[in-house]
């Protein structure tokens, strides 16, 4: 097990290195034009561009450029030339908001998807199953930013049932925090509810035919007990793995659209606003950190999975 962990961690570090090279290439090498001009934002002065060229070492060779970029990203030396604010502080400020959104949404989509998926499987082929299948398909077809904007406008602004966007810190007022996040959580969860409930449904339908389920029934266990203790438990394994990976993906990027629509001021919205202004340093930093986060989460999920299921540990 220890060897597996060591190997997985080494692999993780290698992927992180490759990811950082790729991000560097995307922003500094592939596009046309002078990278210093691109960094400087919309209306730079000549002296500004010259200063940036010096600071980032754009006239030096590519290896030096890469090290300079990485140093800037990791020492918190990166600042937006557009707003003059340091990037790392903005990210630190937004992180609790992004995590609040992602954690709540992840819990919501898991709970609802288990209910939908299990009910759908139990009623397979009946009206309820077909109805839930249609709902799930609609759910995965809805653009997050569109449905979010409509919910925010009609339920928040017009009817006044929910606050019209914004965020309240948990430490300030937990109830208000919860109240402000209900719509964002729902919006973000819709897509995943659609997907997870369908995966769970097909997993449950596969497990139902297993011998041990028949045995459990033959023992005279109640249908509810068979479903929850025997069928659901097995069907959950692949979903829990997915859950970990998707949580990472949502924190690292999926939240961008939801945060923007509900004005949550998290990391995602910070990135989105930088994109709108073509402000390169924040986009560079958030892209790099997002990919790193995913790589780390994937490694953790793999290691946990190997810990739980010895069969997949490579010898």
């Amino acid at each position: 097990m220890r060897r597996f962990i060591v190997r997985r961690v080494i692999q993780m570090v290698l992927v992180m290195f490759a990811v950082s090279v790729l991000v560097f290439l995307i922003f500094n090498v592939i596009p046309n034009g002078d990278p210093a001009v691109r960094m400087a934002g919309r209306q730079p002065t000549e002296t500004q561009i010259e200063a940036i060229r010096k600071e980032w070492g754009f006239d030096e060779n590519i290896v030096v450029q890469y090290t300079t970029t990485m140093k800037k990203v990791f020492t918190g030396d990166l600042k937006s030339y557009f707003t003059q604010l340091p990037v790392d502080e903005e990210i630190k400020k937004g992180l609790p908001r992004t995590l609040s959104l992602a954690i709540g949404a992840a819990i919501l989509w898991m709970v609802v998807a288990i209910c939908f998926g299990l009910y759908s499987a139990v009623k397979a082929g009946r009206f309820a199953d077909r109805f839930l299948t249609i709902i799930a398909l609609i759910g995965i077809s809805l653009p997050v930013f569109w449905i979010g904007a409509l919910l925010n406008h009609y339920l928040g602004f017009k009817l006044g049932w929910f606050p019209n966007g914004g965020y309240v810190e948990f430490t300030k007022d937990p109830v208000d925090w919860f109240y402000h996040l209900i719509l964002p959580w729902t919006t973000l969860a819709i897509l995943f509810i659609g997907f997870y409930s369908r995966v769970l449904r097909s997993n449950v339908l596969d497990t139902i035919n297993e011998d041990y389920v028949r045995t459990a029934r033959a023992k005279g266990l109640s249908e509810r007990r068979v479903m929850v203790r025997h069928v659901l438990r097995t069907s959950m394994i692949p979903i829990v793995t997915l859950w970990g990976l998707d949580f990472g993906a949502v924190v690292a990027g999926g939240a961008v659209l939801t945060e923007t629509v509900f004005d949550l001021q998290g990391v995602g919205q910070y990135a989105a606003e930088a994109i709108g202004q073509l402000d390169v340093p924040p986009v560079l930093a958030t892209t790099m950190f997002a990919a790193f986060f995913i790589v780390v989460v994937n490694a953790i999920v793999d290691i946990l999975y190997a810990y739980l299921d010895p069969r997949i540990r490579p010898q």
Binding site: I26, S202, A252, V283
Partner: protein, 347 residues
């Protein structure tokens, strides 16, 4: 709804029942493709949605017809100071308070105007052309790239497999939206030169390329896995014994066995590519205004949702209809070909 006993049974027992039924049908001597077609034809819902998709595409293709014959305006023509007669009343296309006119349900401004006085119906159709063009071409490129990469990685052990697989792993570490946005922003500023071709920053090729790249790992990885198991099968062994080279084996022996996976994936891929285009355009890293697309139209509309909600509702509804029809069709295709295929994309 009355449940028909056959579907009931098939669904209740999952895979086993599907395989039994397939076995029964195979006994009648029908080939796998005929069989799949028969199953798809029985799935009326999937067919109806497939037809809806074709209809939507046809409408968007016919955009110039509507613009010239019915609406008498182009997608980027402003009518800020124009008036229009609706029901005997003369109305401003864009009111003095800046609120554009809502749906008139007549030829001109059928679905109303936007805040620049542009005809929404015309923009919707032209925007659909861009959205669908980007979505379909991106899906096509992803499919081709994934097939090539999947075949190379899966068929050849050793260095090229390692190289391709780690490239896919690296791309896979990026959330789709983030990779799309990073590439979109970087390329949109000054364009890019690829060999002899130079692409300007506002070209449609950039979102097409960006979306295609972002989805490659999602399709190439499962394909590689399939090739990996196919290459050990007897028919591949037989071809090798007959002296067929690796290229020939890849394309004439292995590739045909991948067709059903490819078909299922590419349908769902179009749906996701159209959605991703909208998301990127919404964030400002996709199709650039004033080029209309459903994403840029929703972006415009969301900014003005409190005064003119139809600006956001109309393009969004169109987008949902398109994506939903592709998802339902793709679902039907998968059920007909291989219900065990676990296709997963994110957006």
């Amino acid at each position: 709804m009355a449940t028909d006993p056959l579907a009931d049974q098939a669904a209740l027992q999952g895979r086993e029942a599907w395989e039994q039924e397939a076995e029964r049908e195979r006994a009648h001597g029908i080939g796998p493709w005929r069989l799949a077609l028969r199953r798809l034809r029985r799935n009326k819902v999937a067919l109806a949605f497939g037809f809806l998709f074709v209809l939507l595409v046809a409408c968007c293709v016919a955009a110039p017809l509507w613009a010239d014959r019915v609406a008498h305006t182009g997608p980027n023509e402003n009518h800020l100071s124009d008036t229009i007669r609706v029901g005997g009343e003369t109305k401003n296309v864009v009111g003095l308070d800046g609120i554009p006119i809502g749906p008139t349900w007549r030829g001109e401004f059928f679905l109303g105007a936007d805040s620049n006085g542009r005809d929404i119906m015309v923009r919707l159709l032209y925007g659909g052309r861009n959205s669908l063009l980007v979505g379909i071409s991106a899906a096509l490129i992803t499919t081709i790239l994934s097939i090539v990469l999947g075949l190379i990685a899966g068929y050849s052990h050793g260095a090229s497999d390692a190289a391709v697989s780690s490239l896919l792993d690296i791309l896979w570490s990026f959330p789709v939206v983030i990779l799309g946005v990073a590439l979109g922003v970087a390329l949109a500023l000054d364009g890019v030169d690829i060999g002899p071709f130079s692409v300007s920053g506002d070209s449609l090729l950039i979102p097409i390329f960006v979306i295609a790249i972002a989805y490659v790992p999602y399709m190439a990885r499962p394909l590689r896995g399939q090739v990996l198991s196919l290459r050990e099968r007897e028919f591949v062994e037989a071809a090798r014994a007959q002296g067929a080279g690796p290229l020939r084996i890849m394309f004439t022996e292995v590739l045909p066995s991948l067709t059903s996976t490819i078909l299922v994936f590419s349908t769902l891929l179009i749906a996701n590519a159209v959605l991703l285009e909208a998301a990127l355009s919404f964030l400002g890293a996709g199709i650039r205004p004033p080029n209309p697309s459903w994403g840029t139209m929703i972006d415009d509309g969301v900014d003005r949702i409190s005064t003119a909600p139809h600006l956001a509702i109309v393009p969004g509804a169109m987008l949902v209809l398109t994506v939903l029809s592709l998802n339902v069709l793709g679902d039907g295709v998968r059920d007909a070909l291989d219900p065990r295929a676990n296709v997963r994309l994110e957006h």
